[in-house]
């Protein structure tokens, strides 16, 4: 029955759109935060249906094995982040950092962002996907600047400029893909549809495809936060509201990476075209190494975890660049685990920064003593993110490094080194943050711990036992990608 799938796809897109309009119109009180949670929850439920039932590919929208993983992950993190956002924003209203009018704007933008990301993931059209990614970028730009402090404005401006240059390069690449396709497929919508493009890619002009991939990798790579196009990322994470940092790291970077993967599969389908792998391996490795060393010099807690996101996106890009069933499997797993862990860390960090009234790490100390739950959750999150066993990230990093060792030992050594360097930096900082004599305010945090526990719980469970269904699913997708 394809009807149910079609309804689910429609729901995944319409709920955020309607909720955005509703939240923009409704007067501001506590119910809006609940409505926000409700809308994301319904979107998640509809997305979960797609696992079972999926519609036939349409001209504009498609659900296939690859994007369903991304959609379910991103709607899930959307739900937990909206729960976290409820308690976070309530505190911001109390302290007067945000006014009720901005709250209304914030919630509307949150749903618009969800709509943009879902549309980008579901689109079967390179042009439509581009529009959706641009929409998601613009909403996050507005949210990063929402505090209107000089630093927030600087961050939003930088993000806006770099993001729009990236998106412009990506559009140029998209036009080149259409040019390569239209002499084979013919004019019109078919020449921009994913399923058609991948099917007929072997007949495309390889030179045009090569050039288009360079533009697309640089363009969407800016949004992934690959070095040397990463400059916007730490500022945007540090200066925006923390729920947005969580969504940026956990979801938006994945969406951009998803776009790169889609184009990579077009490239791989054409034997005469440049192999996309080495380019991605090079950029990924550069990002991982650069970010790992930059971690040592951070003073701002959110900025530090932003650099850690650059490092992990580098590792994931590296894994997909290496290709092959094992590396792709590890890349998918790592992406999922990183989304869950990093957003959990940002949930902790958001509450910590609110309680302590600062983001400077030198002014935060002894969290496990003053705020045991938050402190230990942060410690657990950091232990997970640096890739210590038995967490899920340990498993995926282990798979990436070992599978690389078998094929290119030198690269594996470099990657392993950057993982170790990052581990050292983060554990060093964690020691200062979590242990020792408490420093700063010790008033209790009005936090919602459910999202943190849900994410960290999933990461721990995934490290110990991955359900066979999930393994089979990831293996299937990984095989599709290679």
């Amino acid at each position: 029955m394809t009807d149910l799938g079609a309804i689910a796809v429609g729901t995944v897109l319409t709920i955020p759109a309607v909720a955005a309009a509703l939240l923009a119109l409704l007067p501001d009180d506590r119910t809006t935060a609940r409505l926000n949670v409700l809308a994301t929850l319904m979107t998640f439920a509809a997305a979960a249906v797609l696992f079972v039932e999926r519609p036939a590919p349409g001209r504009y929208l498609i659900v296939d094995d690859l994007n369903v993983v991304f959609i379910v992950l991103s709607t899930f993190v959307g739900v937990t982040t909206s729960v976290f956002s409820g308690s976070y924003i309530a505190h911001e209203l109390e302290t007067g950092r945000l006014t009720p009018a901005y709250l209304r704007f914030y919630h509307a933008m949150y749903q618009t962002l969800m709509f943009g990301m879902n549309l980008a993931l579901l689109s079967n059209n390179v042009g439509l996907m581009w529009v959706a990614v641009e929409l998601a970028t613009l909403t996050t730009v507005l949210m990063v600047g929402i505090y209107r402090t000089p630093a927030a404005l600087e961050a939003a401006w930088k993000y806006f400029l770099l993001g729009s240059v990236g998106i412009a390069l990506a559009l140029f690449g998209t036009i080149l893909v259409y040019l390569a396709a239209h002499s084979v497929v013919g004019e019109g919508l078919d020449a921009m549809a994913w399923n058609v493009l991948v099917e007929r890619a072997q007949a495309f002009d390889p030179a045009l495809l090569n050039l288009s991939f360079v533009f697309l990798l640089l363009g969407y790579g800016t949004k992934v936060g690959l070095v040397p196009l990463h400059a916007w990322l730490p500022d945007a994470h540090a200066e925006g509201p923390t729920p947005i940092s969580a969504v940026l790291s956990g979801l938006l970077l994945n969406v951009a990476l998803f776009a790169v993967l889609r184009f990579k599969s077009i490239m791989s389908a054409n034997p005469a075209a440049l192999a996309p792998g080495p380019l991605m391996v090079a950029l990924g490795l550069l990002s991982a190494m650069f970010a790992a060393f930059m971690l040592y010099r951070r003073h701002d807690i959110k900025r530090m975890f932003a650099y850690s996101s650059i490092e992990h996106m580098g590792i994931i890009t590296f894994a997909f660049g290496m290709g092959g069933p094992l590396a792709n499997f590890a890349g998918l797993l790592h992406m999922t685990m990183h989304s869950l862990t990093k957003s959990a860390i940002f949930f902790c960090v958001g509450h910590i920064a609110q309680v302590k009234g600062t983001q400077q790490m030198s002014e935060i100390r002894g969290l496990t003593v003053s705020h045991p739950v938050l402190g230990w959750s942060l410690a657990l999150g950091v232990v997970a993110i640096v890739g210590l066993p038995p967490m899920g990230i340990f498993m995926s990093e282990f798979l990436i490094v070992t599978s690389t060792f078998a094929r290119a030992p030198a690269l594996a050594v470099l990657l392993g080194l950057s993982i170790l360097v990052a581990l050292g930096a983060l554990l060093l900082r964690l020691n200062g943050l979590a242990f020792g004599e408490p420093l700063g305010s010790d008033r209790p945090a009005t936090a919602s711990f459910v999202p943190i526990f849900a994410h960290l719980g999933l990461v721990v469970v995934a490290g110990i036992w991955l359900p066979p269904v999930l393994v089979a699913w990831f293996q299937h997708v990984a095989a599709l990608l290679s």
Partner: protein
């Protein structure tokens, strides 16, 4: 295709590159905005001509959007902002004008050398249009990095969008989705920009990005 039709198309596309160069050496705010209006006018003429020779009536919509929004509405709004903020004074480029122009010439040569060989199969029209479009995009990027001022960076970005429209219309039969999206994105971009300019005004009484840099989140 008719030789004259091709020649006129190239005239407009080449004209757009020329206006991009003019943008590079403007040293007054009003001059930059007026030159951008000319840029938008040329792009709308070019798109209208493509609509005529490709018999693609939907492209006239794109041309009309470019003409109304980018050649009139946005420049007028920017003039308003400039008057209100009192920033008619000359603006200081990061690099000298001569050097910027030389770099621009280099970029045009680069895009011609990159695009012409690989688009041999794409048809004469698309081929040269793409080379010109890439030049306009690269010149827009150059403008964004060679100016410190927020308004000229925004104009640099919009000239990049013009280059993208040129490329999209040169690709024959490209579905409407993209044209509308480009126009749409510019509108959204303008909203963002408007919000930003006024917020920046509230905080700094200036739109010089250089002053924003003093508020970097982190000192080394």
């Amino acid at each position: 295709m008719d030789q004259l039709a091709l020649d006129v198309a190239h005239l407009f596309a080449g004209g757009l590159v020329l206006v991009s160069f003019m943008l590079l050496y403007q040293d007054r705010m009003t001059g930059i905005v007026n030159t951008f209006a000319l840029h938008a006018l040329v792009v709308s003429l070019s798109v209208a001509w493509q609509a005529y020779i490709q018999h693609a009536p939907h492209l006239y919509i794109t041309a009309a959007i470019a003409l109304v929004v980018k050649a009139f509405v946005i420049p007028l709004a920017l003039h308003q902002i400039i008057v209100r903020l009192g920033i008619h004074r000359t603006i200081e480029p990061v690099v000298g004008v001569g050097l910027t122009m030389l770099a621009g010439i280099g970029l045009v040569a680069l895009s011609v050398m990159v695009m012409l060989p690989i688009t041999a199969t794409a048809g004469t029209l698309a081929r040269e249009d793409l080379a010109f479009a890439l030049s306009v995009v690269l010149l827009g990027l150059l403008m964004m990095i060679s100016r410190r001022n927020a308004v000229s960076q925004v104009i640099g970005f919009m000239s990049i969008e013009n280059g993208l429209i040129l490329a999209a219309t040169g690709a024959k039969g490209m579905p409407l989705v993209v044209e509308i999206s480009v126009a749409f994105s510019i509108l959204i971009a303008l909203i963002v920009i408007g919000v930003f300019l006024f917020r920046i005004r509230e905080r700094f009484e200036t739109v010089d990005i250089h002053e924003l840099h003093e508020y970097r989140g982190e000192q080394p």
